[in-house]
């Protein structure tokens, strides 16, 4: 809970900082960064925790965004309804494609997700009658809650921050629980995990579906935030971008995924002054960060150390002999 509270505080206090500048630009970047925080956190579940390279995440983000956009433009539904539905539809699609493919392991899994992602992208692009194809869709409604508009600068920010915080906390709970441990065991040694009674196929499927759910939620946020989506927003390169966020931050660490997302969204914006050279700089920073900290900025191990140092006493105090040993191990 402690990191969740910190997160909450940071997110809540940020506008106070931003308000001083009175710039919509900062809010925009904050919102965008938050959306990618959610995307990278959701990929963290599959790639960081369960150790499965996911090369098609952006497609589920797209499915979510398209769900929101289509529900809005065809049925006139608002954000309150599209947000959960986007997640559910993305999860459903993920579940269906996962059925035949989740038995795959290692790189075969990765290339299957690549193919799935590309196929979904092609559907968005080529099924013109349904998705409007390359024409994209204008999403005429902004954020709202049961009809109350939240599209003001601050309200929009808080909407995004609230959804993202809740989702990240949920992902945190999942990955720092016995459930997360079961997923981690798949990453470490799936055959051995199998022998321990962990049903690897089912868990992989769940993790994949759940991560698609959160990606779908992120998609809905994006659709309502920009007001216009097109297939180009969900290309393969976006999947790679999200993957890079998870890796830069430290594969296996949720704070790492969050920081990686912030870094890779803020850095290119921050480097605008460099003009045409800024993307080279982004590449260099990525390279240096991984070179100096090969386990990522907050790798699994260092993250563990951090937690342990903080909760060192708690660890010892909650041993079985102390009477309050229940429920620890993952806080």
């Amino acid at each position: 809970m402690v990191p969740a509270l910190i997160l909450l505080l940071v997110f809540a206090a940020l506008p106070a900082l931003l308000a001083g500048f009175d710039r919509g630009y900062f809010y925009q970047i904050a919102n965008l960064a938050l959306i990618f925080v959610l995307l990278s956190a959701s990929m963290h579940l599959v790639t960081g925790v369960a150790g499965l390279l996911h090369l098609g995440h952006a497609a589920f983000y797209g499915v979510g965004a398209y769900t929101a956009a289509l529900l809005t433009s065809k049925l006139g539904l608002g954000f309150t309804v599209t947000l959960p539905l986007s997640g559910l539809v993305a999860a459903l699609v993920a579940f269906l494609v996962a059925l035949p493919t989740m038995r795959l392991v290692s790189i075969y899994f990765a290339v299957a997700t690549l193919a799935i992602g590309q196929m979904l992208y092609l559907v968005m692009l080529n099924w013109v009658d349904f998705t409007k194809g390359p024409n994209g869709i204008i999403v005429s409604k902004g954020f709202e809650l049961f009809g109350v508009s939240l599209s003001g600068r601050l309200a929009a920010y808080y909407t995004v921050a609230a959804v993202v915080t809740l989702s990240v906390v949920a992902i945190g709970r999942l990955s720092h629980s016995y459930y997360g441990n079961a997923l981690r065991s798949i990453r470490e040694d799936d055959q051995c995990a199998d022998a321990m009674g962990v049903s690897t196929v089912r868990l992989k499927m769940e993790a994949f579906t759940l991560s698609a759910f959160f990606a779908g939620v992120a998609g809905s946020l994006w659709a309502h935030m920009t007001g216009y989506i097109s297939p180009g927003d969900f290309k393969f390169s976006e999947s790679i971008l999200i993957l890079a966020m998870v890796v830069v931050g430290g594969l296996g660490s949720l704070p790492g995924a969050v920081i990686g997302a912030l870094l890779l969204i803020l850095l290119p914006e921050g480097l605008r002054a460099l003009g045409d050279f800024r993307n080279i700089m982004v590449g260099l920073v990525m390279f240096l960060s991984i070179l100096l900290l090969p386990k990522g900025l907050l790798g699994e191990v260092s993250a563990l150390r951090l937690v342990r140092r903080q909760l060192g006493a708690a660890w010892r105090n909650t041993g079985p002999g102390t009477g309050k040993g229940e429920g620890i191990g993952w806080r």
């Binding site: 710039r23 204008i138 216009y228 180009g232 993307n279």
Partner: protein, 347 residues
């Protein structure tokens, strides 16, 4: 005001940077001229790189909107990014003039969206008529799978049918496709009299070369988007005989065209500008003219109104008038590739 600021969002890096870089060059030519003309005020253009990425495009839009001194925005390149950014400009009341955004709904977003490009609703029927006049009744049409390609096929096919012709074959390909041979064989199987194509020069050059490889002689027609000297450079002899439309001819003897072409050549190792840089050059000048008309104290609203009143603006792409729905009405010319050059066809 002494200095007026404009924003220009465009892809300066990434896969489409070649277009953005050209736009910046064209804009700089226009701006230098304008500022050198001894006006009582100076104009400054802020260029921001969007990488043809909607995320970055909207970020830039917010940034421009925040800057109270910016009274008008040019760009973006692709419709997707232009449309996403337009959502921001709509709310902020910022006039936006794109040199290329071709999405049919772009100008419908709000009264602040303008574009300086002939739409396919105009170009399609024009070409259909041209082909019908040549006696091509049974035609094939292919286009890239983008919003623009969609409008190419739509605008053209309807017109063909209206003229009593038939569309024997119609298909989209993904942009950046390298190998068109399968598609070409398939087109040929439908035995069309002519092929109408919606592509940019990169895809066009590949298509034409492979058409030649397969020994196919069916005449090819295309849109102004393919009008670039790079088409001939890349396709070589294979481009020979291609028909297309354009509203810019570097060979046009009129002084403003020649001036632009000269300036362009100076900055591009002697290369001749194509259709898109010309559109960008005109777009910038149209915007500058609007700013001038909105003097002495231009605001976004005033610039918008001034833009809307653009009538018969004498650009290098012909005279431009914004219709009530902020579309540019352009005069098209017919061009054919002959002897390794674009040659106007009089017919």
């Amino acid at each position: 005001a002494d200095t007026v600021k404009l924003g220009y969002q465009l892809p300066l890096t990434g896969d489409t940077a070649q277009y953005g870089q050209d736009f910046r060059k064209a804009a700089e030519i226009a701006l230098t001229e304008f500022n050198a003309a001894g006006k009582p005020f100076k104009v400054e253009i802020v260029f921001e790189d969007s990488r043809s990425d909607a995320k970055e495009g909207t970020n830039i839009a917010r940034k421009f909107v925040d800057d109270k001194e910016i009274v008008g925005v040019l760009g973006d390149f692709t419709s997707g990014v232009s449309m996403a950014a337009a959502q921001v400009y709509k709310d902020a009341g910022m006039p936006q003039l794109s040199q290329t955004a071709s999405h049919p709904d772009y100008t419908k977003i709000s009264k602040y969206q303008f574009r300086n490009i002939a739409t396919q609703a105009q170009e399609g029927p024009y070409n259909a008529k041209w082909m019908a006049a040549k006696g091509f009744k049974n035609v094939a049409v292919i286009a890239e799978q983008t919003d623009w390609g969609q409008s190419v096929v739509g605008g053209f096919s309807d017109a063909v049918k209206a003229n009593g012709g038939t569309v024997a074959f119609s298909e989209f390909f993904n942009r950046g496709l390298k190998d068109y041979r399968s598609l070409i064989s398939k087109i040929e199987r439908a035995k069309p009299d002519a092929i109408y194509t919606g592509f940019f020069y990169e895809d066009g050059a590949q298509f034409l070369k492979q058409l030649q490889q397969l020994g196919i002689k069916t005449p090819v027609y295309s849109t102004s988007a393919a009008y670039s000297p790079k088409l001939i450079e890349l396709a070589g002899g294979a481009a020979e005989g291609v028909h297309l439309t354009s509203n810019f001819l570097p060979t046009d003897p009129s002084p403003n065209v020649q001036h632009f072409v000269e300036e362009w050549k100076k900055r591009s190792d002697g290369a001749v500008p194509g259709q898109f840089p010309a559109q960008a050059y005109d777009a910038v000048r149209i915007m500058l003219a609007a700013v001038e008309r909105a003097q002495p104290s231009p605001t976004r609203e005033k610039v918008r109104d001034a833009l809307a009143q653009t009538r018969d603006f004498p650009g290098v792409t012909g005279k431009t008038t914004f219709s009530a729905d902020r579309e540019a009405e352009k005069d098209l010319v017919k061009v054919e590739v002959k002897g390794g050059a674009f040659v106007p066809v009089a017919e």
